[in-house]
Protein backbone atom coordinates (compact mmCIF):
# COMPACT_ATOMS: atom_id res chain seq x y z
CA UNK A 1 0.00 0.00 0.00
CA UNK A 2 1.27 3.49 -0.81
CA UNK A 3 2.48 5.45 2.18
CA UNK A 4 -0.01 8.34 1.81
CA UNK A 5 -2.87 5.86 1.36
CA UNK A 6 -1.80 4.17 4.56
CA UNK A 7 -1.74 7.55 6.35
CA UNK A 8 -5.19 8.46 5.02
CA UNK A 9 -6.53 5.07 6.09
CA UNK A 10 -5.18 5.61 9.61
CA UNK A 11 -6.68 9.13 9.68
CA UNK A 12 -10.04 7.87 8.45
CA UNK A 13 -10.00 5.08 11.02
CA UNK A 14 -9.13 7.60 13.74
CA UNK A 15 -11.94 9.91 12.70
CA UNK A 16 -14.45 7.07 12.66
CA UNK A 17 -13.30 5.86 16.06
CA UNK A 18 -13.47 9.42 17.42
CA UNK A 19 -16.98 9.88 16.05
CA UNK A 20 -18.04 6.52 17.51
CA UNK A 21 -16.63 7.29 20.95
CA UNK A 22 -18.16 10.79 20.98
CA UNK A 23 -21.52 9.42 19.88
CA UNK A 24 -21.36 6.77 22.61
CA UNK A 25 -20.42 9.32 25.29
CA UNK A 26 -23.08 11.85 24.25
CA UNK A 27 -25.78 9.18 23.88
CA UNK A 28 -24.88 7.86 27.32
CA UNK A 29 -25.10 11.38 28.75
CA UNK A 30 -28.42 12.08 27.05
CA UNK A 31 -29.88 8.83 28.37
CA UNK A 32 -28.66 9.50 31.90
CA UNK A 33 -31.26 12.13 32.74
CA UNK A 34 -34.31 9.99 31.83
CA UNK A 35 -32.78 7.10 33.77
CA UNK A 36 -32.27 9.30 36.85
CA UNK A 37 -35.84 10.56 36.44
CA UNK A 38 -37.13 6.97 36.29
CA UNK A 39 -35.22 6.05 39.44
CA UNK A 40 -36.71 9.02 41.31
CA UNK A 41 -40.18 8.22 40.01
CA UNK A 42 -39.82 4.62 41.21
CA UNK A 43 -38.72 5.73 44.69
CA UNK A 44 -41.57 8.22 44.81
CA UNK A 45 -44.16 5.60 43.92
CA UNK A 46 -42.77 3.15 46.48
CA UNK A 47 -42.73 5.73 49.24
CA UNK A 48 -46.19 6.96 48.20
CA UNK A 49 -47.61 3.45 48.48
CA UNK A 50 -45.98 2.92 51.85
CA UNK A 51 -47.32 6.24 53.17
CA UNK A 52 -50.78 5.51 51.80
CA UNK A 53 -50.79 2.09 53.48
CA UNK A 54 -49.85 3.67 56.81
CA UNK A 55 -52.43 6.41 56.36
CA UNK A 56 -55.19 3.92 55.54
CA UNK A 57 -54.30 1.91 58.61
CA UNK A 58 -54.32 5.02 60.81
CA UNK A 59 -56.45 7.82 59.30
CA UNK A 60 -55.38 10.13 62.15
CA UNK A 61 -51.95 10.09 60.40
CA UNK A 62 -50.12 9.95 63.73
CA UNK A 63 -48.18 6.83 62.77
CA UNK A 64 -46.57 8.77 59.93
CA UNK A 65 -44.45 10.64 62.47
CA UNK A 66 -42.23 7.59 62.73
CA UNK A 67 -42.01 7.09 58.99
CA UNK A 68 -38.76 8.22 57.53
CA UNK A 69 -36.61 7.52 54.51
CA UNK A 70 -33.13 8.70 53.66
CA UNK A 71 -34.34 9.47 50.13
CA UNK A 72 -37.04 11.84 51.33
CA UNK A 73 -36.34 15.53 51.94
CA UNK A 74 -39.82 15.93 53.41
CA UNK A 75 -43.41 14.94 52.75
CA UNK A 76 -46.75 16.48 53.56
CA UNK A 77 -50.40 15.54 53.20
CA UNK A 78 -52.93 18.21 52.21
CA UNK A 79 -56.66 18.17 52.08
CA UNK A 80 -58.58 19.44 49.08
CA UNK A 81 -58.68 23.00 50.46
CA UNK A 82 -54.94 23.18 50.88
CA UNK A 83 -54.79 22.70 54.61
CA UNK A 84 -51.78 20.73 55.78
CA UNK A 85 -53.06 17.61 57.51
CA UNK A 86 -49.64 16.12 58.07
CA UNK A 87 -46.10 17.40 57.69
CA UNK A 88 -42.67 16.18 58.74
CA UNK A 89 -42.35 19.52 60.51
CA UNK A 90 -45.23 19.36 63.04
CA UNK A 91 -45.25 23.16 63.36
CA UNK A 92 -46.76 23.39 59.89
CA UNK A 93 -49.67 21.00 60.53
CA UNK A 94 -52.95 22.89 60.31
CA UNK A 95 -51.55 25.81 58.36
CA UNK A 96 -52.61 26.69 54.83
CA UNK A 97 -50.36 25.84 51.93
CA UNK A 98 -49.16 28.96 50.20
CA UNK A 99 -49.22 27.77 46.60
CA UNK A 100 -51.96 26.28 44.44
CA UNK A 101 -49.98 23.60 42.66
CA UNK A 102 -51.86 20.89 44.54
CA UNK A 103 -55.08 21.81 42.69
CA UNK A 104 -54.02 19.89 39.59
CA UNK A 105 -53.92 16.68 41.63
CA UNK A 106 -57.20 17.42 43.39
CA UNK A 107 -58.95 17.87 40.04
CA UNK A 108 -57.76 14.61 38.47
CA UNK A 109 -55.99 11.43 39.56
CA UNK A 110 -52.68 12.45 38.08
CA UNK A 111 -49.17 12.47 39.43
CA UNK A 112 -47.24 15.69 38.99
CA UNK A 113 -43.45 15.62 38.93
CA UNK A 114 -41.00 18.49 38.87
CA UNK A 115 -37.67 19.56 40.21
CA UNK A 116 -37.91 22.54 42.53
CA UNK A 117 -35.35 24.47 44.51
CA UNK A 118 -35.95 24.68 48.23
CA UNK A 119 -35.11 27.63 50.40
CA UNK A 120 -31.88 25.90 51.40
CA UNK A 121 -30.73 25.96 47.79
CA UNK A 122 -31.18 22.20 47.37
CA UNK A 123 -32.94 21.01 44.24
CA UNK A 124 -35.42 18.24 45.03
CA UNK A 125 -37.67 16.02 42.95
CA UNK A 126 -41.20 16.79 44.04
CA UNK A 127 -44.20 14.63 43.25
CA UNK A 128 -47.86 15.16 44.08
CA UNK A 129 -50.36 12.34 43.98
CA UNK A 130 -53.74 11.52 45.33
CA UNK A 131 -53.87 9.63 48.63
CA UNK A 132 -57.08 7.74 49.18
CA UNK A 133 -58.34 7.36 52.70
CA UNK A 134 -61.69 5.85 53.60
CA UNK A 135 -64.21 8.56 52.81
CA UNK A 136 -61.85 11.21 51.47
CA UNK A 137 -59.11 11.87 49.00
CA UNK A 138 -56.06 13.83 50.10
CA UNK A 139 -52.92 14.99 48.29
CA UNK A 140 -49.50 13.59 49.11
CA UNK A 141 -46.66 15.96 48.34
CA UNK A 142 -43.30 14.21 48.46
CA UNK A 143 -39.89 15.77 47.93
CA UNK A 144 -36.91 13.50 47.27
CA UNK A 145 -33.19 14.16 47.45
CA UNK A 146 -31.77 13.93 43.95
CA UNK A 147 -28.05 13.54 44.69
CA UNK A 148 -28.05 9.73 44.68
CA UNK A 149 -30.11 9.36 41.51
CA UNK A 150 -28.17 12.14 39.79
CA UNK A 151 -24.95 10.18 40.27
CA UNK A 152 -25.72 8.53 36.96
CA UNK A 153 -25.87 11.95 35.24
CA UNK A 154 -22.64 13.07 36.86
CA UNK A 155 -20.89 9.85 35.86
CA UNK A 156 -22.12 10.20 32.28
CA UNK A 157 -20.94 13.82 32.25
CA UNK A 158 -17.56 12.78 33.63
CA UNK A 159 -17.46 10.08 30.96
CA UNK A 160 -17.98 12.68 28.23
CA UNK A 161 -15.23 14.87 29.65
CA UNK A 162 -12.80 11.97 30.06
CA UNK A 163 -13.47 10.70 26.54
CA UNK A 164 -13.06 14.19 25.06
CA UNK A 165 -9.81 14.72 26.98
CA UNK A 166 -8.46 11.30 26.03
CA UNK A 167 -9.41 11.86 22.40
CA UNK A 168 -7.73 15.27 22.43
CA UNK A 169 -4.60 13.74 23.95
CA UNK A 170 -4.67 10.85 21.47
CA UNK A 171 -5.10 13.21 18.51
CA UNK A 172 -2.39 15.51 19.81
CA UNK A 173 -0.05 12.57 20.19
CA UNK A 174 -1.02 11.23 16.78
CA UNK A 175 -0.36 14.56 15.08
CA UNK A 176 2.95 14.82 16.90
CA UNK A 177 4.01 11.32 15.79
CA UNK A 178 2.88 12.07 12.24
CA UNK A 179 4.95 15.25 12.16
CA UNK A 180 7.97 13.39 13.50
CA UNK A 181 7.47 10.71 10.89
CA UNK A 182 7.19 13.28 8.10
CA UNK A 183 10.28 15.10 9.33
CA UNK A 184 12.16 11.81 9.43
CA UNK A 185 10.96 10.98 5.93
CA UNK A 186 12.14 14.37 4.59
CA UNK A 187 15.49 13.90 6.28
CA UNK A 188 15.90 10.44 4.77
CA UNK A 189 14.96 11.76 1.33
CA UNK A 190 17.42 14.63 1.66
CA UNK A 191 20.16 12.26 2.77
CA UNK A 192 19.45 9.88 -0.08
CA UNK A 193 19.53 12.75 -2.58
CA UNK A 194 22.71 14.11 -1.06
CA UNK A 195 24.39 10.72 -1.32
CA UNK A 196 23.17 10.31 -4.88
CA UNK A 197 24.52 13.73 -5.83
CA UNK A 198 27.83 13.00 -4.16
CA UNK A 199 28.18 9.78 -6.15
CA UNK A 200 27.21 11.60 -9.34
CA UNK A 201 29.73 14.31 -8.57
CA UNK A 202 32.53 11.82 -8.09
CA UNK A 203 31.61 10.04 -11.30
CA UNK A 204 31.38 13.35 -13.14
CA UNK A 205 34.77 14.46 -11.90
CA UNK A 206 36.42 11.26 -13.09
CA UNK A 207 34.67 11.48 -16.44
CA UNK A 208 35.49 15.13 -16.90
CA UNK A 209 39.12 14.57 -16.10
CA UNK A 210 39.36 11.59 -18.46
CA UNK A 211 37.47 13.37 -21.26
CA UNK A 212 39.13 16.77 -21.07
CA UNK A 213 42.60 15.75 -22.29
CA UNK A 214 41.53 13.75 -25.33
CA UNK A 215 38.88 16.38 -26.06
CA UNK A 216 41.56 19.06 -26.28
CA UNK A 217 43.37 16.91 -28.82
CA UNK A 218 40.24 16.30 -30.89
CA UNK A 219 39.39 20.00 -30.91
CA UNK A 220 42.98 20.99 -31.85
CA UNK A 221 43.18 18.54 -34.70
CA UNK A 222 39.73 19.48 -35.95
CA UNK A 223 40.71 23.16 -36.00
CA UNK A 224 43.84 22.21 -37.93
CA UNK A 225 41.80 20.18 -40.38
CA UNK A 226 39.36 23.07 -40.85
CA UNK A 227 42.20 25.43 -41.67
CA UNK A 228 43.95 23.05 -44.08
CA UNK A 229 41.00 21.44 -45.80
CA UNK A 230 40.57 22.51 -49.42
CA UNK A 231 37.06 21.47 -50.03
CA UNK A 232 34.20 23.38 -48.40
CA UNK A 233 32.48 20.13 -47.43
CA UNK A 234 35.57 19.03 -45.48
CA UNK A 235 35.77 22.46 -43.84
CA UNK A 236 32.13 22.21 -42.82
CA UNK A 237 32.61 18.76 -41.26
CA UNK A 238 35.75 19.86 -39.42
CA UNK A 239 33.84 22.95 -38.20
CA UNK A 240 31.09 20.69 -36.82
CA UNK A 241 33.70 18.66 -34.91
CA UNK A 242 35.11 21.88 -33.46
CA UNK A 243 31.64 23.14 -32.46
CA UNK A 244 30.67 19.84 -30.80
CA UNK A 245 34.06 19.68 -29.07
CA UNK A 246 33.46 23.18 -27.69
CA UNK A 247 30.02 22.16 -26.46
CA UNK A 248 31.55 19.11 -24.75
CA UNK A 249 34.25 21.35 -23.34
CA UNK A 250 31.59 23.60 -21.86
CA UNK A 251 29.86 20.59 -20.33
CA UNK A 252 33.13 19.34 -18.85
CA UNK A 253 33.85 22.82 -17.46
CA UNK A 254 30.42 22.93 -15.82
CA UNK A 255 30.94 19.45 -14.44
CA UNK A 256 34.29 20.38 -13.00
CA UNK A 257 32.90 23.60 -11.54
CA UNK A 258 30.12 21.67 -9.88
CA UNK A 259 32.28 18.89 -8.50
CA UNK A 260 35.26 21.05 -7.55
CA UNK A 261 35.68 21.76 -3.85
CA UNK A 262 35.11 25.51 -4.10
CA UNK A 263 37.49 27.54 -2.02
CA UNK A 264 35.88 30.84 -1.18
CA UNK A 265 37.84 33.67 -2.70
CA UNK A 266 37.99 37.13 -1.23
CA UNK A 267 36.53 39.74 -3.48
CA UNK A 268 33.61 41.91 -4.26
CA UNK A 269 31.76 42.96 -7.34
CA UNK A 270 29.39 45.71 -8.36
CA UNK A 271 26.22 44.01 -9.44
CA UNK A 272 25.21 46.65 -12.03
CA UNK A 273 28.57 46.28 -13.78
CA UNK A 274 28.45 42.50 -13.86
CA UNK A 275 24.84 42.51 -15.05
CA UNK A 276 25.82 44.90 -17.83
CA UNK A 277 28.81 42.75 -18.81
CA UNK A 278 26.69 39.63 -18.88
CA UNK A 279 24.09 41.44 -21.02
CA UNK A 280 26.80 42.62 -23.41
CA UNK A 281 28.24 39.12 -23.57
CA UNK A 282 24.90 37.64 -24.51
CA UNK A 283 23.71 40.54 -26.66
CA UNK A 284 24.44 38.88 -29.96
CA UNK A 285 22.96 35.57 -28.96
CA UNK A 286 19.92 37.35 -27.48
CA UNK A 287 19.45 39.29 -30.69
CA UNK A 288 19.41 36.07 -32.70
CA UNK A 289 16.93 34.54 -30.28
CA UNK A 290 14.77 37.72 -30.37
CA UNK A 291 15.11 38.08 -26.60
CA UNK A 292 15.17 41.55 -25.04
CA UNK A 293 17.02 42.20 -21.78
CA UNK A 294 15.61 44.84 -19.49
CA UNK A 295 17.45 45.91 -16.34
CA UNK A 296 15.89 48.13 -13.65
CA UNK A 297 16.69 49.05 -10.08
CA UNK A 298 19.88 49.68 -8.26
CA UNK A 299 22.04 48.13 -5.54
CA UNK A 300 23.77 50.51 -3.18
CA UNK A 301 26.94 48.58 -2.38
CA UNK A 302 29.03 45.82 -3.99
CA UNK A 303 28.28 42.23 -3.07
CA UNK A 304 30.73 39.96 -1.26
CA UNK A 305 31.40 37.71 -4.27
CA UNK A 306 34.28 37.86 -6.75
CA UNK A 307 33.41 39.41 -10.10
CA UNK A 308 34.16 36.32 -12.19
CA UNK A 309 31.94 34.14 -9.99
CA UNK A 310 29.09 36.65 -10.07
CA UNK A 311 29.43 36.98 -13.85
CA UNK A 312 29.35 33.20 -14.24
CA UNK A 313 26.24 33.09 -12.09
CA UNK A 314 24.49 35.78 -14.10
CA UNK A 315 25.50 34.28 -17.45
CA UNK A 316 24.12 30.90 -16.41
CA UNK A 317 20.86 32.45 -15.24
CA UNK A 318 20.44 34.62 -18.35
CA UNK A 319 21.31 31.71 -20.63
CA UNK A 320 18.80 29.53 -18.81
CA UNK A 321 16.11 32.18 -19.23
CA UNK A 322 16.88 32.59 -22.93
CA UNK A 323 16.73 28.84 -23.49
CA UNK A 324 13.27 28.82 -21.93
CA UNK A 325 12.04 31.19 -24.69
CA UNK A 326 12.87 29.62 -28.07
CA UNK A 327 10.30 31.87 -29.75
CA UNK A 328 11.78 34.98 -28.19
CA UNK A 329 10.58 37.13 -25.32
CA UNK A 330 11.85 39.39 -22.62
CA UNK A 331 14.16 38.91 -19.64
CA UNK A 332 13.58 41.37 -16.82
CA UNK A 333 16.28 41.94 -14.25
CA UNK A 334 15.24 43.86 -11.15
CA UNK A 335 17.96 44.93 -8.71
CA UNK A 336 17.32 45.93 -5.11
CA UNK A 337 18.84 45.69 -1.66
CA UNK A 338 17.74 45.92 1.96
CA UNK A 339 21.03 47.20 3.36
CA UNK A 340 22.35 43.72 4.09
CA UNK A 341 21.40 41.61 1.09
CA UNK A 342 21.35 42.35 -2.60
CA UNK A 343 18.43 40.86 -4.49
CA UNK A 344 18.65 40.11 -8.21
CA UNK A 345 15.27 39.06 -9.56
CA UNK A 346 15.44 37.53 -13.04
CA UNK A 347 12.12 36.78 -14.69
CA UNK A 348 11.32 35.66 -18.19
CA UNK A 349 8.21 35.60 -20.36
CA UNK A 350 8.53 31.88 -21.08
CA UNK A 351 6.15 29.11 -20.02
CA UNK A 352 7.51 28.94 -16.44
CA UNK A 353 8.49 25.87 -14.49
CA UNK A 354 6.46 22.69 -14.51
CA UNK A 355 5.67 21.34 -11.04
CA UNK A 356 8.36 18.65 -11.19
CA UNK A 357 10.91 21.08 -12.65
CA UNK A 358 10.26 23.56 -9.86
CA UNK A 359 11.13 20.92 -7.26
CA UNK A 360 14.23 19.71 -9.08
CA UNK A 361 15.41 22.87 -10.86
CA UNK A 362 18.68 23.00 -8.93
CA UNK A 363 19.41 19.25 -9.05
CA UNK A 364 22.50 18.46 -11.14
CA UNK A 365 21.87 16.71 -14.48
CA UNK A 366 18.19 17.55 -14.31
CA UNK A 367 17.11 19.15 -17.57
CA UNK A 368 14.00 19.34 -19.70
CA UNK A 369 15.98 20.09 -22.87
CA UNK A 370 17.36 17.37 -25.16
CA UNK A 371 20.80 18.95 -25.45
CA UNK A 372 21.17 20.46 -21.97
CA UNK A 373 23.68 19.27 -19.39
CA UNK A 374 21.39 20.04 -16.46
CA UNK A 375 24.27 21.65 -14.60
CA UNK A 376 23.62 25.38 -15.16
CA UNK A 377 21.29 26.02 -12.24
CA UNK A 378 23.06 23.44 -10.05
CA UNK A 379 26.31 25.39 -10.50
CA UNK A 380 24.42 28.64 -9.72
CA UNK A 381 23.13 27.27 -6.44
CA UNK A 382 26.55 25.96 -5.49
CA UNK A 383 28.14 29.33 -6.16
CA UNK A 384 25.38 31.36 -4.49
CA UNK A 385 25.36 29.23 -1.34
CA UNK A 386 29.15 29.14 -1.34
CA UNK A 387 29.20 32.93 -1.02
CA UNK A 388 26.53 33.07 1.67
CA UNK A 389 23.64 33.70 -0.65
CA UNK A 390 20.34 32.07 -1.52
CA UNK A 391 18.80 31.19 -4.84
CA UNK A 392 15.12 30.35 -5.24
CA UNK A 393 13.08 29.36 -8.28
CA UNK A 394 9.41 30.16 -8.63
CA UNK A 395 6.72 30.90 -11.15
CA UNK A 396 5.75 34.56 -11.47
CA UNK A 397 2.06 35.30 -10.77
CA UNK A 398 1.74 36.87 -14.22
CA UNK A 399 3.39 33.85 -15.87
CA UNK A 400 6.95 32.89 -16.70
CA UNK A 401 9.79 31.70 -14.51
CA UNK A 402 11.31 33.80 -11.77
CA UNK A 403 14.72 33.24 -10.19
CA UNK A 404 15.59 35.22 -7.08
CA UNK A 405 19.25 35.47 -6.24
CA UNK A 406 20.28 37.01 -2.94
CA UNK A 407 23.89 37.76 -2.05
CA UNK A 408 25.29 39.50 1.01
CA UNK A 409 26.50 43.08 0.55
CA UNK A 410 29.99 43.93 1.69
CA UNK A 411 30.12 45.54 5.12
CA UNK A 412 29.81 49.29 5.09
CA UNK A 413 32.94 51.06 6.29
CA UNK A 414 32.34 53.03 9.44
Amino acid sequence: MHRSQFTYSILLGGLLLTALLLWFAVANYRNAEPVAHSILRGISLSLGQAIEALAVRDPSLKTLVDFSSSDSAYFSILDQRGTIRFHRNPELIGSQIDDQRFQAVVAAPVITEERIRLGTGEVVFETQQQLHLPGETLVLRLALHTWQADQIIRRARTGVVVIVVLLAVAWGFGVWVLRLQQRDLRRREAMARHEQLARLGELGAVLAHEVRTPLAGIKGFAQLLRERAQEPKQQEYAGKIVAESERLEGLVTDLLTYTRQETLQEGSATVQEQVQEACDHLAEEAGRARVALQVTGDIGRPVACPADRLRQLLLNLFANAMQAMPEGGIIRVVLSDNGEQATILISDSGPGFAEESLKRAFDPFYTTRASGSGLGLAVCRKLAEGYGGVIVAANAPEGGAEITLQLPLIKELA
Binding site: D98, R101, G119, E122, A143, W147, R154, V169
Partner: protein
Protein backbone atom coordinates in the same frame (compact mmCIF):
# COMPACT_ATOMS: atom_id res chain seq x y z
CA UNK B 1 11.98 10.80 20.83
CA UNK B 2 11.61 8.28 23.65
CA UNK B 3 12.22 11.00 26.21
CA UNK B 4 9.64 13.31 24.61
CA UNK B 5 6.97 10.63 24.31
CA UNK B 6 7.44 9.68 27.98
CA UNK B 7 7.06 13.33 28.96
CA UNK B 8 4.00 13.68 26.75
CA UNK B 9 2.33 10.65 28.36
CA UNK B 10 3.24 11.87 31.81
CA UNK B 11 1.61 15.26 31.22
CA UNK B 12 -1.49 13.67 29.66
CA UNK B 13 -1.84 11.21 32.54
CA UNK B 14 -1.43 14.01 35.09
CA UNK B 15 -4.19 16.05 33.42
CA UNK B 16 -6.57 13.08 33.37
CA UNK B 17 -5.84 12.16 36.99
CA UNK B 18 -6.37 15.74 38.17
CA UNK B 19 -9.64 15.98 36.26
CA UNK B 20 -10.89 12.63 37.55
CA UNK B 21 -10.28 13.66 41.12
CA UNK B 22 -12.64 16.60 40.84
CA UNK B 23 -16.41 16.24 40.96
CA UNK B 24 -18.01 16.20 37.54
CA UNK B 25 -19.88 19.43 38.20
CA UNK B 26 -16.63 21.30 38.56
CA UNK B 27 -15.85 20.60 34.91
CA UNK B 28 -18.93 22.53 33.90
CA UNK B 29 -18.55 25.38 36.32
CA UNK B 30 -21.07 24.25 38.92
CA UNK B 31 -20.40 23.48 42.52
CA UNK B 32 -17.21 25.44 42.72
CA UNK B 33 -17.01 28.68 44.60
CA UNK B 34 -20.19 30.57 45.40
CA UNK B 35 -21.78 30.83 48.77
CA UNK B 36 -22.18 27.12 49.32
CA UNK B 37 -18.87 26.02 47.87
CA UNK B 38 -19.01 22.39 46.82
CA UNK B 39 -22.40 21.88 48.49
CA UNK B 40 -24.25 24.17 46.10
CA UNK B 41 -26.44 25.26 49.04
CA UNK B 42 -27.14 28.73 50.33
CA UNK B 43 -25.46 28.09 53.67
CA UNK B 44 -25.69 31.62 55.05
CA UNK B 45 -29.15 32.86 54.07
CA UNK B 46 -30.82 29.58 53.10
CA UNK B 47 -33.52 27.91 55.16
CA UNK B 48 -36.66 25.94 54.43
CA UNK B 49 -39.30 25.20 57.05
CA UNK B 50 -40.41 22.10 55.16
CA UNK B 51 -37.19 20.35 56.04
CA UNK B 52 -36.87 21.43 59.66
CA UNK B 53 -35.85 18.63 62.00
CA UNK B 54 -34.46 18.31 65.49
CA UNK B 55 -31.51 15.99 65.82
CA UNK B 56 -29.61 14.78 68.83
CA UNK B 57 -26.15 13.32 68.52
CA UNK B 58 -22.53 13.76 69.38
CA UNK B 59 -19.97 16.22 68.14
CA UNK B 60 -17.69 14.51 65.62
CA UNK B 61 -15.62 17.51 64.61
CA UNK B 62 -15.32 20.70 66.65
CA UNK B 63 -16.05 24.09 65.07
CA UNK B 64 -13.42 25.41 62.74
CA UNK B 65 -13.43 29.10 63.58
CA UNK B 66 -11.28 29.86 60.53
CA UNK B 67 -13.95 28.45 58.18
CA UNK B 68 -16.69 30.65 56.82
CA UNK B 69 -19.46 29.89 57.52
CA UNK B 70 -18.59 28.23 60.82
CA UNK B 71 -19.59 24.57 60.90
CA UNK B 72 -19.59 21.70 63.31
CA UNK B 73 -19.96 18.04 62.47
CA UNK B 74 -22.48 15.96 64.37
CA UNK B 75 -23.12 12.22 64.24
CA UNK B 76 -26.59 10.86 64.94
CA UNK B 77 -26.74 7.10 64.72
CA UNK B 78 -25.43 6.18 61.28
CA UNK B 79 -25.85 9.67 59.84
CA UNK B 80 -23.30 12.45 59.86
CA UNK B 81 -24.33 16.09 59.50
CA UNK B 82 -22.49 19.26 58.84
CA UNK B 83 -24.24 21.72 61.11
CA UNK B 84 -23.90 25.21 59.68
CA UNK B 85 -23.89 27.74 62.49
CA UNK B 86 -23.42 31.06 60.71
CA UNK B 87 -20.94 33.51 59.28
CA UNK B 88 -17.60 33.84 61.01
CA UNK B 89 -17.97 37.56 61.66
CA UNK B 90 -21.24 36.96 63.52
CA UNK B 91 -19.89 34.17 65.72
CA UNK B 92 -16.45 35.56 66.45
CA UNK B 93 -17.46 36.67 69.99
CA UNK B 94 -19.25 33.45 70.89
CA UNK B 95 -17.60 30.69 72.85
CA UNK B 96 -17.87 27.75 70.50
CA UNK B 97 -16.29 25.40 72.98
CA UNK B 98 -17.72 22.07 71.98
CA UNK B 99 -15.44 19.09 72.27
CA UNK B 100 -15.49 15.93 70.23
CA UNK B 101 -17.96 13.47 71.76
CA UNK B 102 -20.08 16.16 73.47
CA UNK B 103 -23.81 15.44 73.34
CA UNK B 104 -25.59 18.06 71.31
CA UNK B 105 -29.12 18.80 70.15
CA UNK B 106 -29.65 20.91 67.11
CA UNK B 107 -32.73 22.11 65.26
CA UNK B 108 -32.62 23.39 61.77
CA UNK B 109 -33.36 22.98 58.10
CA UNK B 110 -31.86 19.83 56.61
CA UNK B 111 -30.52 19.65 53.09
CA UNK B 112 -28.33 17.45 50.96
CA UNK B 113 -25.52 19.20 49.12
CA UNK B 114 -24.21 18.57 45.66
CA UNK B 115 -21.24 16.96 47.34
CA UNK B 116 -23.57 14.29 48.76
CA UNK B 117 -23.14 15.42 52.37
CA UNK B 118 -26.02 16.21 54.73
CA UNK B 119 -26.21 19.76 56.05
CA UNK B 120 -28.28 21.19 58.83
CA UNK B 121 -28.71 24.96 58.68
CA UNK B 122 -29.11 25.46 62.41
CA UNK B 123 -31.95 27.40 63.98
CA UNK B 124 -30.56 26.71 67.40
CA UNK B 125 -28.03 24.38 68.92
CA UNK B 126 -27.53 23.30 72.50
CA UNK B 127 -24.47 24.86 74.03
CA UNK B 128 -22.07 22.87 76.21
CA UNK B 129 -22.91 25.21 79.07
CA UNK B 130 -26.51 24.04 79.01
CA UNK B 131 -28.20 26.94 77.22
CA UNK B 132 -28.98 27.33 73.51
CA UNK B 133 -27.19 29.20 70.84
CA UNK B 134 -30.07 30.70 68.86
CA UNK B 135 -29.09 31.54 65.30
CA UNK B 136 -32.40 31.96 63.51
CA UNK B 137 -35.98 32.61 64.46
CA UNK B 138 -38.67 30.00 63.86
CA UNK B 139 -39.30 31.12 60.33
CA UNK B 140 -35.62 30.77 59.55
CA UNK B 141 -34.64 34.41 59.45
CA UNK B 142 -30.99 34.55 60.46
CA UNK B 143 -29.94 36.66 63.40
CA UNK B 144 -27.12 38.19 61.33
CA UNK B 145 -29.69 39.47 58.81
CA UNK B 146 -31.23 41.70 61.47
CA UNK B 147 -34.81 41.76 62.70
CA UNK B 148 -34.31 39.77 65.88
CA UNK B 149 -31.60 39.25 68.39
CA UNK B 150 -30.09 35.83 68.58
CA UNK B 151 -27.18 34.58 70.67
CA UNK B 152 -26.73 32.55 73.83
CA UNK B 153 -29.93 32.01 75.78
CA UNK B 154 -30.65 30.17 78.93
CA UNK B 155 -32.89 27.10 79.13
CA UNK B 156 -36.57 27.98 78.59
CA UNK B 157 -35.87 31.40 77.14
CA UNK B 158 -37.36 32.37 73.80
CA UNK B 159 -35.90 34.39 71.00
CA UNK B 160 -37.48 37.66 70.03
CA UNK B 161 -38.89 39.09 66.80
CA UNK B 162 -38.20 38.07 63.20
CA UNK B 163 -40.47 37.34 60.26
CA UNK B 164 -40.31 35.62 56.91
CA UNK B 165 -38.30 32.70 55.63
CA UNK B 166 -36.19 31.71 52.68
CA UNK B 167 -38.37 28.90 51.52
CA UNK B 168 -40.19 28.63 48.25
CA UNK B 169 -43.12 26.29 48.35
CA UNK B 170 -43.70 23.56 50.86
Amino acid sequence: MGRFSSLFFLIAAAIVVVMLQRPAEAFWGFGSGGEGGASGLDLVQGYDRNTVVTQTGRVAATPDSSADPVTIEVVTGSERFVVVLGPRWYLQDDHLDWKAGDAVTVRGSKAQGKDGRSYLLAQWISAPSGGQLVLRNETGRPAWAGGFKGGQQGAGQQQRGGTGSGRRGR
